[in-house]
Symmetry: C2
């Protein structure tokens, strides 16, 4: 029957009531009901992001939010410092490059977290660094970076801290204000349980002071224009309002569960998935796993494309492979969005069936039962390989 | 009962089967079915836009497509020439300004069309003008500009011709290739019968030659990156794929009707709406009405907000007022998207009832019957006031 099971690290599945909300008759984008939805969306996002900051809503995907953040953060004569530990860390550098924004990188081996001490060292005596660009959850490697600790380091300087929270926000703890994140970029299609098409930037007062000190070259992504319209719960250009109506619905779900509980559930799903994968004799790729996805190394003798094709063909289970230099080397299972603990166990069950068929040797049921032990509180979460 | 009737010049109503298509379970954005949809969408758009050019799909609204067009069209040392005859013509200038792109304007009274002879004059002996930025349908005034004639003028020079087709494409004739449009910006939420969130840029070979001659400062809106991915029916960053699936459905509708018939239907709706409005003693605002909307002058002694509020409260009919300096001075009825001839007659009927209640004097039924006469081929379309 091939039931669809989307367990990618984004896009992630969307609850039925959110999909149906967006299927209602389209109303005008400047209708009072649209403004009400924008208000509710922003208030809800502030709870999810743990922030009192302004939150700009963009009709774009997450990369647009990253671009918006960095073009507003670097006044002429200043530089960005990019924490590059994967394909999406590298994206910050590519955005800078495309816009002629000078930047330096701290390069970290893919799969390893950024060491806050290296950031501290790189910032010492450097008043030309206007922004440090980091990543909450590096989707390409399945690594969670120590954003809280890096935020402490950056907060002691004049530099801003811009964080790509696209696959992290909602799937792992992220306290924007407490962790001193000045520009947080978020996308709709991950743990926020929406299709792609909306992006958000939370902007701190420290960031506004920088933004107001120069003329950022931005129109569609202008945060100043967004701030002006936020005052009346509007957007500077046509809002992608059907998605915003959906967002209000998905935020209701998150609010009902409680964001701390949502984080805890993702942590449990992550622990369970890691335990399951290891019990199948597979090696975890990341030294510090993110909580919205689990990356494992493709075992010797198997092809990632075979694993993924069989999962999709037989069970409609869509996971992803590696990107760029990790192509063919890892597989990534997403457990975010409208996926819960039972979906994680199901994915492991499907993975076992497919691995068995491909000749990988392991004790049948080992993955599922290891995950189950974590879920019922009898197994200890495993560390990295 | 207050049935919703969205007759704004965008966002416009979306067919039920398109809404339901987008409510299907979300699949992965790099699934072969997504690539197939991107392929079908681009092939369908080429038919609708009458072009063999590359068509980039952006996760953005129309303003994003305008920004993408202009930042790729002006190499260093060159200028843009903006045809400014309304709020959206002015938008080209604002985008240039925000990006530090030098520009000049041809300023035309709002409601009047741009005279191609003025464009020819402005371009004479000017090899520093890299692009002329025009508007197919100026939504703020309800004016259709003579794009074919302007295209002929621009084509004789080295300058590119960038056209904002956002509220025009699908609602009035637009032959991208024959009319020599080098960069056509389109949005999803107008005559293409989709919610906001997708934007398109059709890029001619002449435009590519300019784009390839320098390094445009673009990342999210990079047309070079888009071209690279188009070869494999993909987008450089996450596509707003649920909207693309919807687009495939709405394009099926347009294809079934035939784009020439769609244009003809909008022309008839426009003629009927104009005839109806004039028969009520109202003055048309535009000297050269666009075909996706009708703008009329708010009669002496009435308030536009009263008219619009009553239409909305009593009949769920959502039309819009004026923007910027036309605020309070005009009302605009959209007849595009999922609206047909009967909807136009219905809007006129509702308008009559509301105007009567507000004390405007006219012969009851005059608007509706004037429109009807056009629709059954017995009335001649009226000219402008």
């Amino acid at each position: 029957m091939r039931k669809p099971r989307l367990m990618a690290p984004g896009p992630a599945p969307v609850p039925e009531e959110v999909l149906l909300e967006m299927a209602r008759p389209v109303i005008h984008s400047r209708d009072p009901r649209t403004k009400q939805a924008i208000k509710e969306a922003i208030e809800g996002l502030r709870e999810v992001l743990k922030t009192a900051n302004d939150v700009a809503i963009l009709a774009a995907t997450g990369t647009g939010a990253m671009e918006a953040a960095v073009i507003h953060a670097v006044p002429p004569g200043k530089k960005a410092l990019v924490l590059n530990a994967g394909w999406f860390g590298l994206r910050w550098a590519k955005i800078c490059q495309a816009h002629g924004i000078p930047f330096e990188t701290i390069d970290v081996e893919w799969g390893q977290p950024v060491d806050p001490a290296r950031v501290a060292e790189a910032l010492t005596g450097r008043d030309d660094i206007a922004v440090v660009c980091g990543t909450l959850s590096e989707t390409s490697t399945g690594t969670g970076h120590p954003i809280e600790a890096i935020g402490k380091v950056v907060a002691e300087t004049a530099a801003l801290f811009a964080v790509d929270g696209i696959s992290g926000v909602g799937a792992m703890e992220c306290r924007t204000d407490d962790w001193k994140i000045d520009l947080l970029a978020v996308g709709s299609q991950k743990a926020l349980m929406l299709p792609p098409g909306l992006a958000f930037v939370a902007v701190s007062p420290k960031a506004w002071a920088v933004i107001d000190s120069f003329e950022p070259k931005a129109f569609y992504f202008s945060l100043k224009a967004a701030r002006k319209k936020l005052a009346e719960w509007d957007t500077p250009y046509t809002p992608a309002h059907t998605l915003i109506f959906g967002l209000v619905k998905s935020l209701e779900r998150i609010k009902a569960e409680g964001i701390e509980n949502v984080w805890a559930r993702h942590k449990t799903m992550s622990d369970a998935c890691q335990a399951g994968v290891k019990a199948l004799g597979l090696e975890l790729f990341s030294a510090r796993p993110a909580e919205g996805l689990t990356a494992f190394v493709v075992p010797q003798g198997l092809k990632d494309t075979d694993i993924r094709k069989k999962l999709d063909d037989r069970f409609g289970l869509s996971i992803v492979g590696g990107q760029d230099k990790l192509k063919g080397k890892i597989c990534r299972i997403g457990h975010m969005g409208y996926n819960d603990e039972v979906d994680v166990v199901g994915a492991l069950a499907a993975l076992e069936m497919v691995l068995a068929e491909l000749g990988h040797e392991f004790e049948p049921g080992a993955g599922v039962s290891a995950a189950q032990r974590v879920l019922i509180g009898q197994g200890s979460p495993v560390g990295a390989a």
